[in-house]
Structures are given as structure tokens and as C-alpha cells.
């Protein structure tokens, strides 16, 4: 076997593995039966650093905490303690799909005493590819972030067209290989859910260039 072909054979499994998507996770569409609290537990909030290189990525699953305010619906949630900063900074929240399941997010920003200062509804999130993203300028008085699921949108679907490119090695003569490119697309139907993968990051507001 020519060395080029041997090399291709060696890297092909790695290339195929890189093409594989995130693992399939069934969507959680109901929080019935889960113990819920009326106010978020801030004592267990994870500390977020003011450092773009230190985002917190976590999966909300069947074990996620549940919030049920008086007169409101049930939400899975996670709390973060925000960094201390004299200046506003950029706070980003991204919900990325796990298979075809996407956590449907909304946000609450709380002060030191747990009072809600600002809410960011689900509608303010925008797509970044197949992920949902919100970027906001956090104020120094905002000390906690609650990322909660948006019950009214859970169970809804959205479809995305995702392009795929492939490169096929084709032997042409002894030891020579031509790479043939081809492209196609597929439709990915995503379900909004109470579970999924969330990434939160804080960083100084970038300078425009």
C-alpha cells in the first residue's frame, strides 16, 4: 500500500469521529413530580470568573434543580455567582444542542439579596448556528445569574438546514491521490426542552475594531 494511502487510512477514523455530532439525549418535556422551590437556591451558585478563557459548561439533566415561583410554571434552573466588577462586562449564555435536544433558556439577574433586577426572556435569545445565544452587558449590581428553562416553549420544534462537506480520496495512478469534494445538506429538527447543555462566560466588553 502506498504510503499516502496508509496515511489516509490512519487518519480516516479520526476524521469520521470528528464529524460525529453530540450524543443523542431525549428531551425532558415535563417537570411533573420533581421537587421544586419557590426561590432559587443561591447558596449553591457556581462562581463565574471574569475571564473569557474560563467559561462554565454544564449539562442540565433529570437531576437539575427545579424552580416554581408562586403563580408561575416549573423550570429547571442553575444559578451562577457573578464576578465582582466596577465596570459593566460582557456576559454570554449559550444553549447548544445535545443531539436534537436544546435547552430552552431564559435568564434572571439578581442582586446580592436575591432580588430580581432584570429578566431576559427566551425571545431575546438568537441563534448562533443551531445554538441559542444571548450576550448582555452585566451591571456591577447584578450579582447572580439564574439560567432557567422557559416552560411555554418547551416541546416546540425548530428546523435548521445544516450543510455537510466531504472530501473523498481517490487513487489516481501509483501513489497519487486526488481529493474529490462534495457537499450536501440535511434538515435537523430540534426540540426545545428542560434539559440540554449550557455555557456561561464573562469577559470585559470587547473593543470594536
Amino acid at each position: 500500500m502506498p504510503s499516502v494511502m496508509r496515511g489516509l487510512a490512519a487518519v480516516l477514523p479520526a476524521l469520521l469521529a470528528a464529524c460525529a455530532g453530540s450524543p443523542a439525549v431525549p428531551p425532558i418535556l415535563s417537570l411533573d413530580g420533581r421537587p421544586c422551590v419557590a426561590r432559587p437556591d443561591l447558596a449553591g451558585a457556581q462562581a463565574l470568573a471574569l475571564d473569557a478563557g474560563k467559561p462554565i459548561k454544564l449539562d442540565l439533566d433529570a437531576g437539575a434543580a427545579c424552580l416554581e415561583p408562586r403563580g408561575g410554571g416549573r423550570s429547571a434552573y442553575v444559578a451562577f455567582r457573578l464576578p465582582r466588577s466596577e465596570q459593566p462586562y460582557l456576559l454570554t449564555v449559550t444553549s447548544a444542542p445535545l443531539g436534537d435536544t436544546l435547552f430552552s433558556p431564559r435568564l434572571m439577574l439578581l442582586d446580592e439579596r436575591g432580588k430580581v433586577l432584570r429578566e431576559v426572556p427566551r425571545d431575546d435569545f438568537m441563534f448562533h448556528g443551531v445554538a441559542l445565544y444571548a450576550g448582555l452587558r452585566a451591571a456591577p449590581a447584578e450579582r447572580y445569574l439564574i439560567v432557567a428553562s422557559d416552560a411555554p416553549t418547551v416541546g416546540q420544534h425548530v428546523s435548521h438546514i445544516v450543510g455537510e462537506s466531504r472530501a473523498f480520496p481517490v487513487p489516481v495512478g501509483i501513489g497519487a491521490v486526488a481529493i474529490i469534494n462534495s457537499g450536501s445538506e440535511k434538515q435537523q429538527v430540534i426540540t426545545y426542552a428542560h434539559n440540554g447543555r449550557v455555557t456561561v462566560a464573562a469577559q470585559p466588553i470587547p473593543k470594536a475594531n
Partner: protein
């Protein structure tokens, strides 16, 4: 000359592949400044020529010769599509500006149009000082038209619209918002707001696209409108 033109077209196609990714970071709107921003001046948007891009073409597998053949074919598609838009009397630039203006007015802003001569695909270096506005909205559309991810039924032509937006304070030139909007992103993109394409608006190949000019314009009109709505939403 023909080679240079071919190279330029290939560079443009490469930009499309990465969604015209730039080093310009996303900066969310400074809503604390919103109370002071009542009147927005939209400077004349910078629009490139319309294009019809075919990714992963057969030619892309055959080095420079294939690339030059691709460039020639793309150039033909681009000019045919441009003529189609003219015959249908559709100006993406005018329609986009009209819809952004509507969206901003619906969001409570007063809007003025600030005429400027635009070159290239960069934001304006220096905004006028005599316009009585609180902020300037700078819009650049480097790519718009149609795109297919390959040849064949599994990769139809769909509308594509890419626009960069920046809101700059007239008082101190600080950047109050900056983002990029991509209609029909095709690939993953975590540096821009993306809008999924309408699966119903597609053409199996370029001939089918040119055979239905009204539908082709409708597709681009939808892409233009949704991109304009997104720009307005970024400023709410």
C-alpha cells in the same frame, strides 16, 4: 486580467465558506445608553454585487484549473442573477434599508437617512459631524444572493444574506452595538446571529432558479426582510 478576476471570485467564495467571519467581535447593545439614543441616522448601506455561490463544486477538486473554471461559471451566474433582479425591478439594498427603517421606527426610534459614498466592505472610518442624530447605524452587506452547498438534489440553491451592523454614538464615537447577521448559515457559526433558511424556498439548480424569477426574488426578499428585522431587534 481574466486570471485576476477568477482569483478575486475564488477569494469571495472562500469568504462565503466561512460566512465572512471577521475579527469584529459581537458587542451587545448598551441599553443604558438607549435612553439617550432617540434619533438614529442610517448611513447609506454598503452593498456588494449579488452573487450565486456553488460550494463543493466539481472544479474545486481539480486545483487551479478547476478553480478558474469555477470562477468563470460563477461570474456567469452572478451576472445572470444581477440581470434577473434588474428585470424584476428588485433592489435588495433599497428593500433592506426600507425594512430596517420600519423596524427601528416600530422600536420607537426616529430615523434619518445619512447619505454617504461607500467603497469596499468595511464600516465607515469617520461619520459626519453635522447630522443631527444621536447615533449612526452602519450596515455592510458583503454577500447576498443564493448559495448551494454542492451539486445535485441534496444541495439545492437557497437564499443567502450576510450583513454586518454597527451602532456608533454621535457624541463620542463609542461603539454601542456591533454584530453580524447571517441568513442561511449552512455551517456552524458562533460569531454571528444566524437565521435558518425557509426550507420551502429552494431551487434544485441554477437553471430552475432563473426559470422562476419571481420566486427567486421572493426568496431573497424573505432573507432581506428577516435580516432587517433581526438588526432592529438587536437595537430593542
Amino acid at each position: 486580467m481574466r486570471t485576476f478576476r477568477g482569483a478575486a471570485v475564488m477569494i469571495a467564495a472562500a469568504m462565503v465558506l466561512v460566512g465572512c467571519a471577521s475579527s469584529q467581535p459581537e458587542i451587545p447593545y448598551d441599553r443604558t445608553a438607549k435612553a439617550q439614543i432617540k434619533k438614529i441616522g442610517i448611513v447609506t448601506p454598503a452593498f456588494a454585487e449579488p452573487s450565486v455561490i456553488l460550494l463543493n463544486s466539481v472544479g474545486s477538486s481539480f486545483g487551479l484549473i478547476g478553480a478558474l473554471a469555477d470562477a468563470s461559471m460563477q461570474s456567469n451566474r452572478d451576472s445572470t442573477f444581477k440581470t434577473l433582479l434588474q428585470q424584476q425591478k428588485f433592489s435588495p439594498q433599497d428593500h433592506f434599508l426600507e425594512r430596517v427603517t420600519q423596524g427601528l421606527r416600530a422600536a420607537g426610534y426616529t430615523v434619518a437617512i445619512v447619505p454617504m459614498k461607500r467603497d469596499g466592505s468595511s464600516f465607515v472610518d469617520k461619520y459626519p459631524t453635522d447630522a443631527a442624530v444621536d447615533a449612526y447605524l452602519d450596515l455592510v452587506a458583503p454577500v447576498y444572493g443564493y448559495i448551494a452547498n454542492g451539486v445535485g438534489d441534496s444541495a439545492p440553491y437557497r437564499p443567502r444574506f450576510v450583513v454586518k451592523a454597527r451602532l456608533v454614538s454621535a457624541k463620542d464615537s463609542s461603539v454601542l452595538m456591533q454584530d453580524r447577521v447571517l441568513y442561511n448559515p449552512l455551517g456552524p457559526d458562533n460569531t454571528a446571529v444566524t437565521i435558518p433558511a425557509d426550507p420551502a424556498l429552494q431551487f434544485k439548480d441554477f437553471d430552475a432558479l432563473t426559470a422562476s424569477p419571481q420566486v427567486a426574488v421572493k426568496g431573497l426578499r424573505v432573507a432581506t426582510e428577516q435580516s432587517a428585522q433581526t438588526i432592529a431587534k438587536l437595537l430593542q
